[in-house]
Symmetry: C2
Subunit: 254 residues, 2 copies
Amino acid sequence: MARFFVEQLPAEGGSCTLTGENADHAKVLRLKPGETVTLCDGRGTDCPCTVEGGLTLRAGASLPCPGEPSARVALYLAFPKADKAEHVIQKATELGATEIVLFPSRYCVSRPDDKSLAKKLDRWQKIARSAAEQSRRGVIPAVRAADSYAAAIEEAANADVPVLFYENEARVTLREALSETNAEASVARPRTSNACPYIQITLMTGAEGGFSEEEIAQAKAAGMKICTLGPRILRCETAPLAGLTAVMYALGEI
Amino acid sequence: MARFFVEQLPAEGGSCTLTGENADHAKVLRLKPGETVTLCDGRGTDCPCTVEGGLTLRAGASLPCPGEPSARVALYLAFPKADKAEHVIQKATELGATEIVLFPSRYCVSRPDDKSLAKKLDRWQKIARSAAEQSRRGVIPAVRAADSYAAAIEEAANADVPVLFYENEARVTLREALSETNAEASVARPRTSNACPYIQITLMTGAEGGFSEEEIAQAKAAGMKICTLGPRILRCETAPLAGLTAVMYALGEI
């Protein structure tokens, strides 16, 4: 079923018309009168609509989007090389991330200047939007950059479960980090409404060169839980998606 | 630490010389006398060695490779378009797959002929080898093709936990499939040796067009457990890696 993100949802029984990129997309899909499509406000609420003809829709009753996970997971990625960020943003959106924050770190090879970063962020946000439509998400993950490593860990450490994956950590597992904060217990919680309080989880991963020991000490001091992703060494574009998938499985979302 | 796959491991105290691609790789790394490297037989056993000089190594005692998971997970992928297979093979190797089998299915867009398939398999096997070295695996996943969908499901259904992920299945979860066969209990099992019996898990995923209803009925009849990967629709290159990661988390491997 076709899915369109709109600024505001129509009231039940009201009509609305697709515009801009949504109209272009709808023309490609050749919507037929009587067909059902879904409008979504990008904040977790869906509105099923019936095509009346052309680009005009008649709205049904809104409901919480079933594609939204029961936790808010933000990925914090050190700037990777080449087009790896695009790959991670697309897949992380499919897998249920709420926010994707890129940050500089000591061993980052890629250090975009302000002008190229603004362009990249614009492109990355479009990738997230398109992946959210395709995967039937109810929220388009916000993609943004942190000014510094210090700023990134300060923010990330505020979550209920703030995790940093480090290849030299062999002992502490993600399972332990989640159980400490009882995040896994939320598996038993029925998904009733998008209004119930969300657990906030942050997952932080390094660039190709990993983290320096000083950076790990700094993250620990800020309150990040330093965890392993297992004995296999994952590439910098694999690690965030593996961490995110594992969290989604732990939460009963996969 | 550098890692090389060899046909046969030297006996403890014996010496050996790196040859072929391993020699080329070692020259790039500029190994120094006294440095430690690891030889691996690709069947789960590691042998730490000391560089004596040039390409000559002195062997230490062999041991089970710590990078091998406690279950054998085979991925069965319907042939995807373009270079997606390369991507999945590289990441699946990092994440711990033991075997990757590609198969044709009704809605596959990509249908390589015998000649191009032989070339592709050769290339895919090299990608798996290189990813196994980088990620510190003890086994190079075998990459091969099944002749038909029927042949693929017949093989896949033989596993202890044979799972097929289907986007129209909303109810049965991977967690249920794993708990039915008590696979999750293996979390508690200490990793003592590579000789203990492995749980065999197969994870089957479709191509861009998904599976037909007839194919799902055929898989069910063969004994495959039809499962959901959650309410978000994953791309055909994301689904196998999400399934594999979730299994590895369930088994305590992540």
